[in-house]
Symmetry: C2
DNA sequence: CGTAACCTTTGAGTTAAGTTTAAGGTCAAG
DNA sequence: CTTGACCTTAAACTTAACTCAAAGGTTACG
């Protein structure tokens, strides 16, 4: 199978497949006499594994460390470890999301609860003091990155290579 | 207030504050005769608003569009719209997270359910077919970025400016 | 033989949110 | 009058996961 065919099979771009090879993720590749890459059918599986793992939140770096052997011969213990860690990561993120959402919802309620007899500026100050109040009040709030991810704007320029 | 003092008050770095100004997020700044920036006390509030919004998942771009007027005089309707959208974003992400987590947990169970009388390679094939099976089986699976975020590896190089 | 559709490589560009560096002014204290 | 802490700018660097462009070789078809 040539790279173009593999790309069509997997829905990935040629450049992305080459990139994965360069990144050490796709080793099931050979060269024909003319220099063309040629792939065995399992390459489709490997690429699908990679994208599936990505969707589950694994970075390419993590995937590389888990994928290396020959599709069989996996490091059982390491793999399970990684999966468990990733589940824990997801749970942590879920917690953060829940908190952020609650804050936003509270903020919405607060803004809309404007008594209607006070002016906008006064309402703004009132809301503002609620939003920042809790934070400013506590001498030292718990540190931690926070920062949910603003991935609403994903690039994902879809265009075949 | 000089930039250093503001940085200390907010816990941000000098460079980050300058960056926010360059990005059009922090307009409450003046210059002394010597070129030094000087800030009014409200600058602390503005910066705290910015980081709070960031933690709620807003990108700097989104924040810029919501922040512009003079701390009061907010665009009520636009703001509420944005907040609602962000809540919806969070909910969508929560859904995706739930699905991914379920998949991972299922995968874990699958791996550990190895009958112990079959060899590792066979088990690997068995598990692999489960992981990819659903996907391969369906002619055309629902499209959509997926890609949870692998932000386990956050850079956040902590070093004062 | 031409040309279109493949394939190759290298190297640079993209995005977000900053940080780092280099080179240099300013200011307060001793 | 020098030292150290502070401030200034512009420009380059960082990370992840790719994409895009340029310049060129290969192959199948008519």
């Amino acid at each position: 199978m040539n790279i173009g065919a593999l790309a069509k099979r997997t829905g990935l771009t040629n450049s992305r497949i080459r990139f994965y090879e360069r990144a050490g993720l796709l080793q099931t590749v050979d060269r024909r006499a003319n220099g063309y890459r040629t792939y065995p059918p399992e390459a489709v599986l490997v690429l699908e594994l990679i994208t599936t793992a990505q969707q589950a939140g694994f970075s390419l770096d993590e995937i590389r460390k888990l994928l290396p052997p020959g599709l069989d011969r996996w490091d059982h213990a390491t793999l399970i470890e990684a999966l468990r860690r990733k589940v824990a990561d997801i749970e942590a993120l879920e917690t953060r999301l829940k908190r952020s959402k609650a804050q936003l919802v509270a903020l919405l309620a607060d803004i809309e609860a404007k008594p209607d007899d006070i002016d906008c500026a006064t309402n703004a100050r009132r809301v503002l003091s609620h939003v920042l109040g809790d934070k400013i009040g506590s001498e030292e709030m718990l540190i931690g990155d926070g920062g949910l991810l603003a991935k609403t704007t994903r690039r994902r320029t879809v265009r075949a290579g």
